[in-house]
Amino acid sequence: MSNILTMNNIQKSFGELEVIKDISVSIKKGDVLSIIGPSGGGKSTLLRCAAMLETINGGSILYGDKKAAWTEDNGKVVYAKGKDMKEIKNYFGLVFQNFNLFPHFSVLKNITDAPLRMQKRNKDEVMSEAEVLLDKMGLKEKAGAYPYQLSGGQQQRVAIARALALKPQILFFDEPTSALDPELTAEVLRVIRQLAEENMTMAIVTHEMNFARLVSDHLIFIDGGVIVEQGSPDAVLGNPQMERTKAFLNKLEQ
């Protein structure tokens, strides 16, 4: 099947600090990619490059067959502009570690505002879809609540619903549960698992190895700005080949 996202030879530096050295990764439609690795390895940065929150210094990014960013012969990185870029930005959604809900909007408005205002979609349609999403997230009674009135787990589920309401082709998660207590983590992971079963294409940065094993089709271990090891989650987590992967996984088990 076709790739939703293709990233080739991505490089990203912050000043002198080379954070992503040369990473190529692609995600097929319906697949779930898990990204694991030690702190500071560049996981978030990679995801943020894919989501256009950071500009790459080299390589190329494709959504479907649309070029989002590419490197020209002279080494200069060029990004798509105008309408093309707008179209590309409709491809993906991102769920943040700390939710980033809009505190002055009710739960329902958090979910419906962008589809109504920015996508200019039909109101009845957006409203009924929002209802379905809230139901799915187990938040039916919370439509009128404000973010501060919700638990972290509930807030994160609203954030997921908000991202889904824009109908992205692929959803990125950057450590969606690391700001949550264990009980709250479980409810968020359950929702993401359900999405995986519905064949939502996703890329998830996570420290939850059991979850990664359950949910993902492909797993990459990133350290020092490169992919150290990749493969099926069972292979990488169950039978790692590289010393760095082994060391990382051993440390987690302690």
Binding site: A51, N100, L101, D113, M118
Partner: protein, 216 residues
């Protein structure tokens, strides 16, 4: 002079003080936001100019600024100003001065917003303008409301500085009556007026703050 006459005269001046207050807010609240944008601009020369403007407005007495605005056109540029220029000068002076203070308040509020709000909006396809108007500004206003209230209360009292160019607001009149009648009474009455004015301002602003307390 009878007390009633005094009160009536001062009440007229009071209306003028209220006019200064209202027009100053009407002009300086939006202008302050523009100045804040200039202050935060990535275009350095603009940033420097605005920074200089703010430091002059905050670093020199408002009374002096009023005199410059009022006498400046005539003495510096040789322009003959009309009879109603006195009031115009008061409003220009106050608006320019308060815009500088409001700009710094806006800037503090805008800079206190987390990047996460901008990034979430960007990911969701909000345009720059929508992000500012719908996501950032409402939250900024809530955060800066106490500081705005403070400035408004100061402004009520500052309206008396219009006496520097003899504009006939309440304090100017009070001073005039007091010296001609050799009594402190007008000052007492004016004081009561200012106090009530500020009481109302504080009351309204408290209401507004309450109205915005539906979220955190």
């Amino acid at each position: 002079m009878e007390l009633q006459t005094m009160v009536t005269m001062l009440a007229e001046g009071f209306l003028k003080s209220v006019a200064i207050f209202s027009l100053t807010l009407l002009g300086s609240l939006p202008l302050g936001l523009l100045v804040a944008f200039g202050r935060m601009s990535k275009f350095k020369p603009l940033q420097w100019i605005v920074k200089f403007y703010i430091s002059v407005m905050r670093g020199t007495p408002l009374m002096l600024q009023l005199m410059v605005v009022f006498f400046g056109p005539h003495y510096l540029l040789g322009i003959q100003t009309g009879s109603n220029y006195r009031f115009v000068a008061v409003i220009i002076g106050f608006v320019l001065n308060y815009a500088a203070y409001f700009a710094e308040i806006y800037r503090g509020g805008i800079e206190s917003m987390s990047v996460g709000q901008y990034e979430a909006a960007e990911i969701m396809g909000y345009s720059k303008a929508h992000t500012f108007v719908r996501i950032i500004l409402p939250q900024v206003i809530k955060r800066i409301l106490p500081s705005i209230t403070n400035e408004m209360i100061t402004l009520v009292k500052d309206t008396s500085l219009a006496f520097a160019i003899s504009y006939a607001e309440m304090f100017t009149l009070a001073k005039k009556i007091a010296s001609s009648q050799s009594t402190l009474m007008p000052f007492v009455i004016a004081g009561v007026f200012y106090f009530i004015f500020n009481y109302v301002v504080a009351f309204i602003m408290e209401r507004v703050e309450k109205k915005m307390s539906y979220y955190r």
